[in-house]
């Protein structure tokens, strides 16, 4: 296999993909390349996150453009669904089915033998902590339990690409942290874990890269620090903790690129906004050498998803749930 083809079979790619619902825009002219690891889709309601997920899982077709999931077009479910698992937002289950039957039937339709279906079903239920409730009808499950059984369904066949639409919805804090740990494990195993979420601080915790969507367009994509540094019009915020912040502030104000500096109430911190982060770090080194400043901590204060979201998309609906 040539290197280009090998690369294609390890990526989820969208090439100039648009999807319209009649005259309503779903997504427009999206081109993406999603590598292995945890990728978060972030954007307000109606920004196109679910459309993007439904497209890559073959539940809907693009109006134009081309999609490949590890080299497989989504209109071939017999190949695609072996490598992809989707925890959709649809909160509906076949009537009268128990948690065990829900997973078992799903695996049966993958073609596994009875013994293999049983083994995988039990393992998946155990992974999401539903072993005790396996024999109960899914209709009688709580919202959190239904969410967990959907997670189990998405991963029971051991897919290489796991697509999770708002997977943390309805989960209690303990279940959330367990789910996040599982996502991290899957990401570390080299799988594609594609997550959409409104909960930005959790996105921030788990994502290797983010895709920011707004009104059907991809606003930014990549590692969050990289995305932040691309937002030139918003000065970078940097938090410094040192023994003489006032001295540092006075030196900083001699620089053109420093827009603002705020001393913290405890007198040991300084929050500054600068248009040239690299210039600031050089200056900081110089001040340390010249005045013997003792620095405890230097850290960017706004290279998280929340800040980037605010800068690029604004504080609209669903921005900081």
């Amino acid at each position: 296999m040539n290197p280009a083809a090998q690369t294609e079979t390890s990526l989820v790619t969208f090439t100039n993909v648009s999807r319209f619902y009649g005259e309503v825009l779903g997504i427009n002219n999206v081109s993406l390349s999603i590598p292995p690891g945890i990728t978060s889709l972030v954007g307000p309601n109606g920004s196109g996150k679910t459309t993007l997920m439904n497209l890559m899982t073959g539940l809907i077709r693009p109006t134009q453009g081309e999609i490949r999931v590890l080299g497989i077009p989504p209109d071939r479910p017999e190949q695609l669904c072996r490598v992809i698992g989707y925890c959709a937002q649809f909160d509906a289950f076949p009537k009268g089915i128990t948690g065990y039957q829900f997973l078992y039937s799903f695996l049966r339709m993958h073609g596994y033998t009875d013994a293999e279906c049983d083994r995988r079903t039990r393992a998946s239920l155990e992974l999401v902590g539903l072993t005790a409730a396996a024999g109960r009808p899914v209709a009688a499950y709580s919202k959190g339990m239904r969410q967990r059984v959907k997670l189990a369904q998405a991963t029971a066949h051991d897919p290489r690409v796991i697509v999770l639409d708002e997977p943390l919805n309805g989960l209690d804090p303990l279940a959330r942290s367990e789910a996040i740990a599982i996502f991290r494990q899957w990401g570390a195993e080299g799988r594609h874990v594609i997550v959409s979420s409104h909960i930005l601080h959790e996105v921030d915790q788990i994502s290797d890269q983010v895709i920011l969507l707004s009104q059907g367009y991809v606003v930014a994509e990549g590692q969050i620090q990289g995305v932040r540094s691309e937002v030139k019009e918003q000065p970078m915020q940097i938090q410094v903790r040192c023994d003489r912040p006032a001295l540092l502030a006075s030196r900083l104000f001699q620089q053109d690129h420093v827009v603002e500096a705020k001393l913290s109430p405890d007198g040991r911190g300084l929050l500054l906004r600068t248009r040239d982060a690299d210039g600031f770090y050089l200056l900081l080194n110089r001040v340390i050498l010249e005045s013997g400043l003792e620095v405890e901590q230097v850290a960017p204060a706004d290279d998280d998803v929340n800040s980037v979201y605010q800068y690029l998309i604004g504080g609209g609906e669903g921005s900081t749930v």
């Binding site: 619902y21 017999e78 076949p94 009537k95 089915i97 339709m109």
Partner: protein, 280 residues
């Protein structure tokens, strides 16, 4: 068919059977199937009561009358109403019902060709329809002349009884196969399959009054050709009926099966292009 494929179809079949068979949603279909059996049972009990009061009395009608009465029930109730609407309820909901309940994605997220989903669902629907309607038809037929006692047994064993029963069973099976394919396709193609079912029902209903050429574009014409006992059309409708030679057995059976296969094939192609759009 390889083993994996068999397991996949079996998976769809079993799940569908579990959902469709004896489901609460389908109570009216069971009533449709049980209705004629209950009437025939009632008829038998009344005749038994009469026979007890007057030994040797076997009712005010002959065995031949019961045979024609059953042919009438079969043609006018089973074929034109019971099996038709029963199949509409069973097969029309196989896809449309999933859309309304927002569960179709469960199948579409499995590595099954959509044609296989169609086949698995159709087979499950057919199994349910056959069990219901064959049992109802056989039960009603066997019971309708039961009050004649040994004469009825003789009619079944050494007369045309069993042959007639076999024909009714065959027609019932073909009706389930044919109408099943029609309504499965309607459920995939139309948001409201019941509207298209109403059109089909009217078309099938006016079939006796249509010119010969148009008569042949229906399921009921071919099914009627296979019925063992002809039902006389009462006046004044008899003057409006156009006579057409019945279709021969060797054309009817393979023809209906071929039409059902073509409809299923088209349903499979349509399912391939079906999208999950529950909100639309």
């Amino acid at each position: 068919m390889n083993a994996e494929w068999r397991r996949q179809v079996g998976g769809v079949f079993r799940l569908e059977l579990k959902k469709t068979f004896l489901s609460r949603r389908g109570w009216w279909i069971y009533c449709l199937a049980a209705g004629p059996f209950a009437i025939v049972l009632f008829h038998w009990l009344i005749e038994l009561q009469r026979a007890r009061g007057a030994p040797g009395f076997h009712g005010r009608h002959s065995l031949g009358d019961d045979s024609i009465a059953f042919a009438g029930i079969f043609l006018l109730y089973y074929l034109r109403a019971g099996i038709f609407f029963g199949c509409m309820g069973i097969f029309g909901n196989l896809f449309r019902g999933e859309m309304l309940e927002k569960t179709l994605h469960y199948y579409f997220l499995t590595p099954l060709r959509r044609e296989v989903v169609v086949a698995g669902k159709y087979l499950a629907g057919l199994a349910v329809a056959l069990v219901l309607w064959e049992a109802s038809v056989a039960g009603s037929f066997l019971l309708i002349g039961r009050h004649f006692g040994p004469a009825w047994t003789e009619y079944l064993r050494h007369g045309p009884g069993l042959s007639q029963l076999g024909s009714y069973m065959l027609v019932t099976a073909l009706a389930c196969i044919g109408y099943g394919a029609v309504f499965l396709m309607c459920g995939i193609l139309f948001k409201n399959p019941f509207l298209s079912a109403a059109v089909v029902w009217v078309w099938e209903g006016i079939n006796p009054f249509l010119p010969s050429i148009l008569k042949k574009i229906s399921v009921i014409f071919y099914l009627k050709s296979l019925c063992p006992v002809e039902v006389p059309v009462p006046p004044p409708f008899n003057v409006m009926v156009t006579e057409t030679d019945p279709s021969p057995f060797w054309v009817t059976v393979p023809g209906l099966l071929a039409v059902a296969f073509i409809l299923l094939f088209y349903s499979g192609i349509s399912a391939r292009n079906t999208e999950i759009s529950y909100s639309e």
